[in-house]
């Protein structure tokens, strides 16, 4: 069982090739990012950042980055898939790629084409009901429950990133 945990940690860490580099300013690409105390899905959540927030990459491990909010002291570990180069949030269309100021977030969060406003308009036109979609989205389970689910069969989600 110990072996399988170690193996799982290893493969989880090894799977994601990196697209971001230390020193680079990147953007949070998930609605709510949990910054953790160490690289692993079970590590303590220290703080949360919102979609579009700018952060600087200060350290890298396989699959994980430690980031520092550019306008605050906040720092912590995120899985790489939770961040994107600013261009990925189409900031460059406004000529702001690489901008590290607070304005970056405002631009990234604003509008963006398909959003709640467009959904509302589409819903009205098509008579689509989103109730069940909302219910389904509520099925997200906390990471510690997922870890328990996996532990029951002898597996483990990264428990803090000790490799």
């Amino acid at each position: 069982m110990r072996r399988s945990i170690a193996f799982f940690l290893f493969v989880l860490a090894a799977v994601t090739l990196s697209a971001v580099n230390v020193g680079q300013v990147v953007t949070i690409s998930v609605r709510e990012a949990e910054l953790r105390s160490s690289p692993g899905f079970l590590a303590t959540v220290q703080t949360r950042l919102a979609y579009g927030d700018s952060v600087r990459v200060v350290e890298k491990r396989p699959g994980w980055v430690r980031v520092q909010a550019v306008d605050a002291e906040t720092n912590g570990w995120l899985h790489e898939s939770a961040v994107a180069p600013p261009a990925d949030l189409r900031l460059s269309s406004a000529g702001r790629a690489g901008d590290t100021g607070a304005s970056t977030r405002e631009i990234a969060l604003a509008g963006r084409g398909f959003n709640q406003q467009i959904e509302a308009e589409y819903q009205e036109q098509q008579q689509i009901d989103f109730t069940m979609v909302d219910t389904m989205e509520g099925f997200l389970q906390p990471t510690d429950e997922l870890a328990a689910f996996l532990a029951a069969i002898g597996g483990s989600i990264s428990d803090g990133g000790d490799q």
Binding site: S4, F7, V11, L12, V15, T16, L17, A19, V20, S29, V30, R31, F41, L78, H79, S81, A82, A84, P85, A87, D88, L89, R90, S92, S93, A97, I107, A110, G111, R112, G113, F114, N115, Q116, Q117, I118, E119, E121, Y122, Q123, Q125, Q126, I128, F130, M132, V133, M136, E137, G138, F139, L140, Q141, T143, L146, L150, A152, I153, G154, G155, I157
Partner: protein
Amino acid sequence: MNRSTRIARIAMITIATAALVVSCAGLSGALGSALAVGEGLGVSGSGARLALAGVRTLSEVVDAANSPFTPEQEYYIGRSVAATILKQYPAYTAARPNRYINSLGQVLALASDRPQLYHGYTFLILDTDEINAFATPGGHIFISRGMLRLTTSEDEVAAVLAHEIAHVVHRHGLGSIRSARVIGALQQGTLDMLDEVSGAQLREVTEIFGETTSEILDTLITRGYSGASEREADASAVEILKRVGYDPHAIVRVLERMDAAQQAEYEGSREPVGFSKTHPRPQSRVNGLKASALRNVEPESRIRTDVADRRFREALSGI
């Protein structure tokens, strides 16, 4: 007929004609690497506009690392695709089996190459005998009762869910978009407005949104993904199963049962069933898997299968 009515009609017709689809059940042979997260060249922003010149389908520029849509846009497209699927298929709302497939699916997603999405991966059982599963670009994953009934163990359910997760990871739904209008809008930056829109711009963006949604529905329900996408999803599913410790050969067992179910449907029917035109026989995909992703891979499980299969039975016995 105005455009939105037409889009709605296309969506409804495509859904209605998919009586017994084994659409994404395309667990096929595997080519290439599951680790398809390449160097992110950031196909987006002004770069996306350049990259989109002359593009005929978005598959030319979309993969696990690149998308011309923002994560938020992918999420809203996914919601709309999910809501439309639920217009046709009622949800099976029993709490226990849904909790089970969410635990299982979300564990598998953490082991994927893209564990973090704008919202995250959530799973819902569809109340239909049809053998089917769908994934939206926003991480909404559906599995039918008919599909669940074909499975006999936790690793087999995991194989189906991992295959669907892989379609999200690789952005196969978005890649299937061929609409010149949608591609043109991305290229021209039509979706780059910064504030709330109104009037003609609101109508235009909503139409493009509807067209994006119906293109993806068309792929999920009628057209099917490309063979290459199915093979890529299979390869990734095998990888995910191995990472967590499930037997990667579970995918073969499900496919063989799907193949048998499909043959049973054919019997007595002179008319070819619709999906046979767009979906190769599951058995041919088994052969593909054995020649690539599962080549030289022994059936092996590193998990406690007794515990896994007990909870599988407890959660899904009534399905």
